[in-house]
């Protein structure tokens, strides 16, 4: 479980303010969860409790409902979300191996986010570039013909870019 960041804490305050004007009733559960996720980018336990308590629904029920839907996520999205294609073409060309490589390199499982929130990994369905299979997206950028060696390179590149940005920020 990722601890709440200072940004999360600020967003939770925003959520607290917005929720006050929302209508009540069980039927509001999904809309309020969506509102919370729009503000926070994900649904930390604190947000689930806020929604549950506001609607006077059991917290564990709220969790049960939220976990039913793919649209809700329970860990923060990484700054560089890695999406590994598991469509048919990519599957046939070893998408599973690419996924495993990312998991090993980043030391997290699919669906999780790294401690520093730089990366998260998820599997996606066909992204429409089957000719380039196996395919992975890092942020918005698509990478075709993925191979284990490329996984190393991609992660390294993001890390180097970040270090560079940090240095520049420090210099100015």
């Amino acid at each position: 479980m990722n601890p709440l960041s200072s940004e999360d804490l600020a967003n939770i305050e925003v959520l607290k303010k917005q929720i006050k004007d929302a209508p009540k009733g069980r039927g509001q559960l999904i809309p309020l969860l969506q509102m919370a996720q729009n503000i926070l980018g994900y649904l930390p336990d604190k947000a689930l409790s806020l929604v549950a308590d506001y609607l006077s629904i059991n917290r564990s029920d709220v969790y049960g409902v939220a976990s039913f839907y793919n649209q809700f996520r329970f860990n923060p999205p990484g700054k560089n979300p890695v999406k590994v294609c598991m469509g048919t073409a990519c599957h046939v060309r070893g998408g599973e191996i690419i996924l495993e490589n990312f998991e090993r390199k980043l030391e997290i499982k699919e669906g999780d986010t790294t401690e520093d929130r730089e990366f998260s990994i998820e599997r996606v369905a066909c992204v429409g570039c089957c000719a380039l299979a196996p395919v992975a997206l890092v942020g918005e950028t698509l990478h075709g013909h993925m191979a284990p060696s490329k996984v190393e390179g991609l992660v390294l590149r993001v890390q180097l870019e970040r270090e560079k940005a940090e240095r520049e920020a420090g210099n100015s």
Binding site: D45, K46, L48, N58, R59, S67, F68
Partner: protein
Amino acid sequence: MIILTVDGRSIQAPAGSSVLSACLFADIFIPHLCWLESDTVADAPAACRLCFVEIDGFSEPVTACTVTVENGMMVHTDTEAVRSLQKTALKLLLSVHKVDCKNCPADKACSLQDIAKFLGIGLGCKPFERVLKELDVDSRHPAFDYYPNRCVLCGLCVRICRDRHEQPMLSFAGRGFNTVVGYFAETSDTDPDCLSCRGCLDVCPTGALVEKSQV
């Protein structure tokens, strides 16, 4: 008192009770996993599909936990149709079950073992394919570890927690084959309530909930 006949034997049961509870109290065993002693016919979730019986006047086997006893009812717990349904239901449960009794704390005190023995079958799941969940153990709960591949999703733990606590911690989470018993508490420190309650641990018919070893 209502008087009914089960497998040729005349038994008594309080009005309003289910056929399942009437039989169990008369020491006539009917396999069941999802039923709590306090369940009325209306409360019973009838989820495990194991407690089938045949009753004269019904065209098909029915779940004993959802039928109210009536005077003169003729119940049969041991027909071919009943046993075949029960074996299939058990095999379906076992098809998503990691059978490894030697390394399971429930070994010898497990409802699945008991029911399989009662039905005279093993713990295999043929002709169904065995499909296991990726996650072997979920350790988030302060009082127990949860083993999804030993859970039959009978729901007893969820219901007990709900009955006893205003702010229950357990619910079903996910959906379809990925359904698990989910745990939700906002704080991660041990809730002293859980350790004194133990409701879920006591009620679980399998080895899915294992008390964390006291450190």
